[in-house]
């Protein structure tokens, strides 16, 4: 039961959000230039870290905005919330 602070709406219950998986995966600028392997990297390969994970969520039942979250996948602590387009902050403790 996560309590996630939407950058606009503030802390809201997990049931209002949808999870979007790993963040900062940029769509290749020229997908056609990629090998099958490199394209598979983009499509499927994930960091899946044990610890701090940069991921994205959408406030689906709220303001419908996507945003980024740094969250620890072991403690479930949320270390940072930041808007789309903003760079990933240093992971705090």
């Amino acid at each position: 039961m996560h309590l996630i602070a939407c950058p606009w709406c503030g802390p809201r219950d997990e049931v209002e959000y949808a999870y979007g998986g790993e963040g900062h995966i940029a769509r290749p600028a020229r997908p056609e230039a990629l090998s099958d392997g490199a394209y598979a990297d983009y499509l499927f390969m994930r960091r899946n870290p044990k610890g701090v994970h940069a991921e994205r969520w959408v406030h689906a039942a709220g303001c419908r905005r996507w945003f980024n979250v740094l969250r620890d996948t072991v403690s479930h602590r949320i270390l940072a919330v930041y808007k789309m387009g903003e760079p990933r902050p240093e992971a705090g403790p």
Binding site: F44, M45, R46, R47, T73
Partner: protein, 415 residues
């Protein structure tokens, strides 16, 4: 000592003082022929078949905690082989065949009970998919039956067959050879059998690094010291990305919590396994009497072995929809495991670009049933340095070529 009724009686008279340890607690050797990382069912089975089928006995199974403490020890024990695609059907069916003789093979009662697995169908779309699946399964010579509404009702009279409920039951598919096995016994049975063939099971031994010499593995760094081997198989389920990462390999895996729960023990009321992807729950009753049930994963990545309450709430609503009489029963314990989910809901049992490094993962929400089969093909892959026919398709390259084995339908509800 062989496990048997005679020895049980003899030991009963002897106050059970004579039972030897089921498995040793050895000190790590410096070097093994093969190291298996992960002391879950799959890892232990791999070690067992390496020793039994391939004569490779100088094997260590390295487990960071207590053996069987991963998903093997926390799953809802559904065993079946009714998968859609040929590749999966053959692999899971191999496994099911192994299950059928495993208790005797291991000389450990796994309580493998072919009580049947009934998948319910609640809408026309699912019904069409159900027929497709049943036909495919049957044509692969695997048992699967279509049950009409009336047959479902006759088979499980306590199901809510009211046609006016929100998601009325229209029919179902039954695999009679499916069922349950005792999860812990599977870990312990394989451990004991592997141990008896000389395999060292090293518990409380966490792998921290994988040692390489160029493109070849040479050993591992663990919390109990360095251990060397020319071949290393990683079978660590939820930790697949972490351990593969130590060998410099990226995987298409994401780790999610999958929750389960048991009711208080009650007298027998449910004699089969009921699964419903549409209302999202599955349930069976263990031999001890608890109703064991689960639903889908929590959506977020996690290594925490716990999930969110709302998943349980939805799951309970679903079970009460199917079985209104269960409403007054009580949840006695809830827990979670970390499942390794692959984009196509099929496993990876494969060689890797790193020589001597093999991975077996991605079983996600449904690998318990595959335990013996997975160990069997993985042992082959490691021993021969090439996949067995049955796991050829489950390679890593498929994510590049696109030749996926999409079993999302089969895994619609975790199991």
């Amino acid at each position: 000592m062989q496990y048997s009724i005679f020895n049980l009686i003899r030991e009963g008279i002897n106050k059970h003082k004579g039972w030897p340890a089921a498995f040793r607690h050895p000190e790590p050797k410096e070097r093994y022929d093969v190291i298996i990382i992960g002391g879950g069912g799959h890892g232990l089975a791999t070690a067992y078949y390496l020793a039994k089928e391939h004569g490779i006995r100088n094997v260590a199974v390295v487990e960071k905690g207590w053996l069987g403490g991963g998903n093997t020890g926390r799953n809802t024990t559904v065993v079946r082989s009714n998968y859609l695609w040929d590749q999966s059907a053959f692999l899971y069916e191999k496994s099911l065949k192994l299950w059928e003789g495993l208790t005797q093979d291991l000389n450990y009662n796994l309580m493998f009970s072919q009580r049947g697995v009934l998948n319910l169908c609640h809408n026309l779309h699912d019904l069409r998919e159900l027929h497709r699946r049943i036909n495919a399964i049957r044509l692969n010579d695997i048992d699967s039956e279509y049950l009409t509404r009336d047959q479902v009702k006759a088979f499980v009279p306590i199901l809510n067959m009211d046609p006016n409920i929100r998601y009325p039951i229209l029919g179902g598919s039954l695999q009679r050879r499916g069922g349950n096995a005792r999860h812990d016994a599977v870990a312990w049975g394989f451990a004991r059998a592997a141990d008896r063939l000389g395999v060292d099971i090293l518990q409380n031994c966490e792998v921290m690094a994988i040692l390489r010499d160029g493109a070849k593995v040479t050993g591992i760094e663990t919390t109990r010291g360095t251990i060397r081997a020319p071949k290393i198989g990683a079978v660590v389920a939820g930790h697949a990305s972490v351990v593969a990462g130590m060998a410099g390999i990226r995987l298409p895996i994401e780790s999610h919590p999958l929750q389960a729960l048991v009711s208080e023990p009650i007298k027998p009321i449910l004699h089969t396994v009921i699964m419903s992807g549409a209302v999202h729950v599955y349930v069976s009753q263990s031999d001890k009497g608890e109703l064991v049930m689960g639903a889908g994963i929590d959506t977020f990545n996690s290594y925490a072995q716990r999930g969110s309450l709302q998943v349980i709430e939805d799951q309970m609503a679903a079970v009460v929809e199917l079985f209104p009489m269960f409403s007054r029963l009580r949840m006695m314990r809830q827990w979670a495991g970390i499942v390794d989910v692959c984009p196509d809901a099929s496993p990876i049992v494969s060689k890797t670009p790193v020589e001597g490094f093999y991975v077996n993962c991605g079983w996600g929400t449904g690998g318990f049933k595959a335990t013996p089969g997975s160990g069997w093909v993985f042992a082959h892959t490691i021993a021969q340095d090439r996949p067995h026919r049955l796991n050829e398709a489950f390679n890593i390259e498929r994510f590049s070529t696109g030749e996926l084995i999409d079993e999302h339908g089969a895994a619609a509800v975790a199991h």
